[in-house]
């Protein structure tokens, strides 16, 4: 793999400074049939999330008598990446589905809906790195949009390392040619880490700093999540007065 300079005079190839997020657009309630939904654009990522449930879980033997089951499916559309991806779950999608589910499970009150299932479908329509964490950011909004009670919103972002510098919110090029990729998801209110992965090359000090940088990015995304949910109810006549 050839060397590629990804930082020029402190600026990244897309003009961002190392601690800057890509432009984000986040909208709640975009699908008619799903119980809850959200759409996110982050850089060139275009990801749509639908939530169904809680609904009765079939087959019966999969039901848990005291709580709801959470299922999550992360899928990339065949046209979402340069090299067409064969439809169907591959090993990467299976692992991502698992860690995303685990990132969201802790904010749900699963005991409120025994014997039922809540399904989260994350569809990556266009991919530009950081899809699993952008999916989590949108999925939290979709869960709230469905009216499913949650403790907190979970937002996620990837931190990477390019030319030895830690950068926030990797894009595809930085992910491919960089030295590390660390997706992190965190609850907005009490900053609990619910997803953390890393692959690459990080010293112990870099790891610590990367975690701090990721948490800052997640906080910014959390503000956007709250806005997206409020926005859904602000465009109708006569605001409520106390």
């Amino acid at each position: 793999m050839e060397e590629k300079k990804l930082l020029i005079e402190g600026r990244r190839l897309d003009g961002r400074s190392p601690d800057q997020l890509r432009p984000v657009k986040l909208k709640a309630g975009v699908l008619k049939r799903a119980d809850g939904s959200a759409y996110i654009e982050q850089g060139n990522n275009k990801i749509l999330v639908a939530v169904y449930g809680p609904q009765e879980l079939h087959p019966r033997h999969l039901q848990q008598p005291d709580m709801a089951v959470l299922r999550c499916m992360y899928n990339m559309a065949p046209f979402s990446v340069e090299e067409r991806k064969k439809p169907g779950p591959d090993r990467r999608s299976v692992e991502i589905s698992k860690v995303v589910r685990e990132a969201l499970e802790s904010v749900l009150f699963l005991n409120l809906y025994p014997r039922s299932v809540i399904d989260i479908y994350i569809e990556v329509l266009q991919a530009d790195a950081g899809t699993r964490v952008a999916g989590i950011t949108a999925a939290s909004v979709a869960l709230a949009d469905a009216g499913i009670p949650i403790r907190d919103l979970v937002a996620g972002v990837s931190v990477g390392k390019v030319d030895g510098i830690l950068v926030l919110d990797l894009n595809a090029e930085e992910d491919q040619y960089g030295e590390a990729d660390m997706p992190v998801a965190m609850t907005g209110r009490d900053k609990r880490i619910t997803l953390l992965q890393m692959d690459g090359h990080m010293t112990r000090e870099e790891f610590r700093q990367a975690l701090q940088l990721a948490m800052k990015g997640c906080q910014q995304l959390y503000e956007l999540q709250k806005e997206a949910l409020r926005e859904k109810y602000s465009s109708t006549p006569k605001e409520v007065t106390g």
């Binding site: 025994p114 014997r115 039922s116 009216g147 499913i148 209110r189 709250k226 006549p237 409520v240 106390g242």
Partner: protein, 237 residues
């Protein structure tokens, strides 16, 4: 000591701090330590001893005493399985619909069959969320005729209104009876297409604007206008 951080009827999102101290967390909220947070997107409701959030979205969670509109999906030896627009199915036993019934002698499908609509009360909800329905008594049982409209279940209280204000208004302005199920299903008891269409649009308007004030008056104005017109013009948002 108690501090409430948000005004009544404020729009909140999950995780927002609502109050602290000597208060209970009601529906749509949860308490951690001394702090109460919202768990849903909705409007804050401050009570005497508790703070809750009226959700603006959500599935129907069966509660004892609620009236619901159900659809028969299956029958068995002792009764019927009823879809009540919830993650949980309702059970209607023959003796909770008919008096003095001998299930071995009677052909249950002659009373209710798949696809029939019923108006019932939630009699019991177990911890496993088995829901037992009651359909005896005046006003309950099989619904003959009428048009079904479905809205988000959590907005049905708005269709009824404080002290039945919204529902009475609709019924008196249109001259139609509405059977309102807490599960988001409403039956318009009428054959008049013009009235059905007007009421249906009014119901969707309530669903869209449930979180605003002055709604009852706006709906009244809309209905009176629509019923005067000939032919159907769409309601303006």
């Amino acid at each position: 000591m108690r501090i409430v951080h948000v005004p009544n009827r404020a729009l909140v999102v999950p995780g927002e701090l609502l109050a602290e101290g000597d208060l209970r967390a009601g529906r749509g909220a949860y308490k951690e330590g001394q702090k109460i947070f919202s768990s849903v997107v909705g409007l804050v409701e401050r009570g005497e001893k508790e703070v809750s959030v009226i959700a603006l979205e959500g599935c129907y969670e069966p509660r004892v005493g609620d009236d619901v509109v159900g659809v028969i999906v299956d029958s068995h030896m002792y009764g019927w399985i009823v879809d009540i627009n919830s993650p949980y199915m309702g059970d209607l036993y023959a003796q909770d619909l008919l008096s003095k019934v001998d299930v071995t002698r009677v052909e249950l499908s002659s009373y209710l069959k798949r696809g029939d609509l019923i108006f019932a009360k939630i009699g019991e909800v177990t911890s496993l969320r088995k829901v037992k329905l009651q359909a005896r008594g005046a006003g309950y049982g099989k619904l003959k005729g009428g048009r079904l409209v479905e809205i988000t279940p959590v907005k049905t209280p708005r269709v009824i209104g404080k002290r039945q204000s919204m529902l009475s208004m609709i019924q008196s302005v249109t001259g139609c009876i509405l059977k309102v199920g807490q599960n988001g299903r409403i039956i318009i008891m009428s054959e008049d297409e013009k009235k059905i269409s007007a009421i249906t649009e009014a119901l969707y308007m309530i669903e869209r604007e449930a979180h605003t004030s002055g709604l009852t008056d706006r709906v009244k104005v809309f209905l009176e206008k629509r019923l005067k017109e000939d032919g159907g013009e769409k309601a303006s948002d």
